[in-house]
Symmetry: C2
Subunit: 431 residues, 2 copies
């Protein structure tokens, strides 16, 4: 029986046209990171399960992940996200010039039901600052995020950066009488407030939260989008977390981040966040999943013993970003066409092959990318191949060319033919 | 208890200095591929086990791999190599302009004991031509391989490209009386001839091969490195496979591939090879593992039903390549130093922060990469950080700079200071 022609569902299989889009995103995103002094690193895909069980939350680490026991009896996981591995690398590195500014393009894995924007194998972009505890670092990573979006042609009306703080949310919940041990549950409930109907969600919140005041605080937090709201000020206005949030809001405004807005309902789903949290959303509602999520995690590096190193950063899904850009027609048209080589060298007959092979090599030495015919088919069929591949220039190597070393280079789009010597080809094709 | 600071053994964890080396290799290798008109694609890491069990050989697919059953009961494998996934993509694509020239940088996985040059998670480079059955295609991929090596500064004395043909080896074995069903076993034995002592290996060959003539042929094949050898000519000189090999040898010579040499002992370890096979080795003996292995596989795409599409290509291990380059001092010295940003902007006091944030953003708009201080430490400590990060230029933003908009940019290596307006900074730092 023939083997299946399909990859497993939700896997990342990219023929060249799709790979070009991903490469374009990677190039632009990395460029934005470099503008702020970030350097690239890479971490393993396979990790010990305990690395994620510790702080990412058991839903992500256990239920929604690919985990298994290897031949040596170790409990392994295919990373569902990158941050715990980064924290380990920083803890292990010892001698680093803080603040560390690192970025990476990890491929990550989640065992979830595939749907629009959600797959099982995906590339994301991670960018983090470690060793700086101030809001200035939080602002810096948001500035990179904003530059990425603007650099891809997204105007500020297309996306919003919604932010809040887990410290502020904790302060509100504590003052509403919630036991601190219940905070993670409250965050989990708040984090899901826009994944179901309002009524359904409120019923769930009331049922889970013991006490009317706590449930009320959870429900109000989830829909509070005004730092000046009388309710918020009355319950937490005198807390340090509230003052911090007001200060952060001012910093964003002063830096001109007009896309940012406070949303107390943003808490993000990872257990390790400790301070500012944020996410980037399509304002148009076409794409309902966060394109990016991030925040501050000051206790993660300490899990590996030794020095406590504060951190802040984000993860951005390249596929959700691509869907966003496609929705608004923001992917450059030239990405849809490929020009794999500058010049196609057709071979008239086998008598010229040796000459053509050596000529092609010399042209490549001069910087021209050359596809040489390897089929031995008729010249007209060879040229049809060149045309199907959108190769811009074609030259035929026949007895004359092999004899004189002169070539006639034809530009396929215009039909214009230019006779030249091989040294002139690079200039002719624009190399 | 603290979590371990080490990744799992043999995993690919690359802090920025090591990532820079890998990036350098990827850039150079992809450039060589593009010179021949190759385009990049990507395939999944997670695959159905049967994809590899079919043709890679059960040793690789089952014993030496990470395989497991997922939550849905599917038998999965973390790809130990890329070619079967490529064959599936080509089979599924339908409308392609043949010959297809595709390349990729897959991360692959093998469950083997880590040692020098052999790890469990590794990036390799794969380059393949599909849809061309002639030796011209085989030559083309070897030319790319050679260009990769020469482009990295390896002279032809440092490496050899050893080639042979499975068809030739099969012809020899058949004529020595070997039953065709035993050919895979014979290939397995020949493939391991340089992994143990000669005596040990010969004993093994004699024991496994039924019949003296067959064992003799296996042993002679493994050490035959002369196409003109009387033994080889007497046993297979009149076979089509022998004539093909002689022709291929002539094509390599004519193309100037002086690093290539015939070695009948090269058969490669993957079951799907059908014709020419080759490998690239360090001639110095410092690195005993093949840096690259490849060959022709004409029956692989057909496994997915439909059209039979011939293929030829190779896989090149980036880590073994890096070890080779390090052995001969061929990695550029500049890879060892990082210059994460062009300019470090120190902030004199918090009163200048808002101005500095906006100034940094404008400088980034003009193409300058800027690390802005986010620590609020003393200026001397900020500058020490810039120095530790090897950032070439530093400017301090104090009350004067915020007032006049003039900056004094200091080149750290020379100590030279230049007063300028912000529009001049890009030119000053060489952007």
């Amino acid at each position: 029986m023939a083997l299946s022609r399909k990859p497993l569902r939700g896997m990342r299989e990219l023929p060249p046209p799709e790979k070009r889009i991903e490469d374009y995103l990677v190039r632009r995103i990395a460029g934005a990171g470099r503008a702020y002094g970030f350097e690239e690193y890479e971490a393993p895909v396979l990790e010990p399960l305990e690395l994620f069980a510790a702080k990412s939350g058991s839903e992500l680490a256990v239920e929604q992940s690919y985990n298994f026991v290897d031949k040596g009896g170790r409990e392994l996981i295919m990373r569902p996200e990158l941050t715990p591995s980064l924290a380990r690398m920083v803890a292990a590195a010892g001698e680093l010039a803080y603040p560390v500014r690192w970025m990476s393009f990890p491929v990550c894995y989640r065992y979830e039901k595939p749907q629009r924007g959600r797959v099982r194998e995906f590339m994301q972009f991670n960018l983090d600052i470690l060793g700086a505890s101030g809001l200035e670092a939080d602002l810096d990573v948001i500035l990179v995020l904003r530059r990425i979006m603007l650099g891809l042609g997204a105007t500020g009306e297309r996306f919003s950066i919604r932010y809040s703080s887990r410290e502020l949310a904790s302060a509100v919940l504590e003052r509403a009488g919630l036991d601190p041990s219940e905070t993670p549950l409250a965050f989990k409930i708040i984090d899901k407030h826009d994944r179901m109907s309002r009524e359904e969600w409120e019923d769930w919140a009331v049922q889970e939260m013991k006490g009317v005041a706590a449930a009320d605080a959870v429900i109000r937090l989830a829909s509070c989008s005004n730092l000046g709201s009388p309710w918020l000020r009355s319950i937490a206005g005198d807390s340090p977390a509230y003052s911090e949030m007001v200060r952060f809001s001012g910093m964003l405004e002063s830096a001109g981040v007009t896309e940012a807005r406070f949303e107390a309902g943003v808490v993000r789903g990872l257990d390790y966040y400790t301070g500012v949290v944020f996410e980037l959303m399509d304002t148009g509602g076409e794409n309902r999943r966060a394109i990016c999520g991030g925040g501050r995690y000051d206790d993660l590096v300490g899990l590996f013993g030794g020095q406590r190193v504060p951190g802040v950063g984000f993860g951005l899904g390249l596929l959700t970003l691509q869907l966003f850009l496609e929705t608004y027609g923001l992917l450059p048209a030239e990405l849809s066409s490929s020009h794999p080589a500058d010049l196609f060298l057709a071979v008239y007959s086998e008598g010229q092959r040796d000459f053509a092979v050596k000529l092609a090599e010399r042209l490549r030495d001069s910087g021209v990318s050359v596809e040489l015919d390897i089929t031995g088919k008729s010249v007209s069929k060879q040229i049809r191949t060149a045309d199907r591949k959108s190769i811009r220039f074609v030259a035929v190597v026949g007895p004359d060319e092999a004899g004189t070393g002169e070539l006639t280079v034809k530009e396929m789009a215009t039909g214009r033919e230019t006779a030249c010597r091989e040294e002139q080809v690079a200039g002719l094709v624009g190399r």
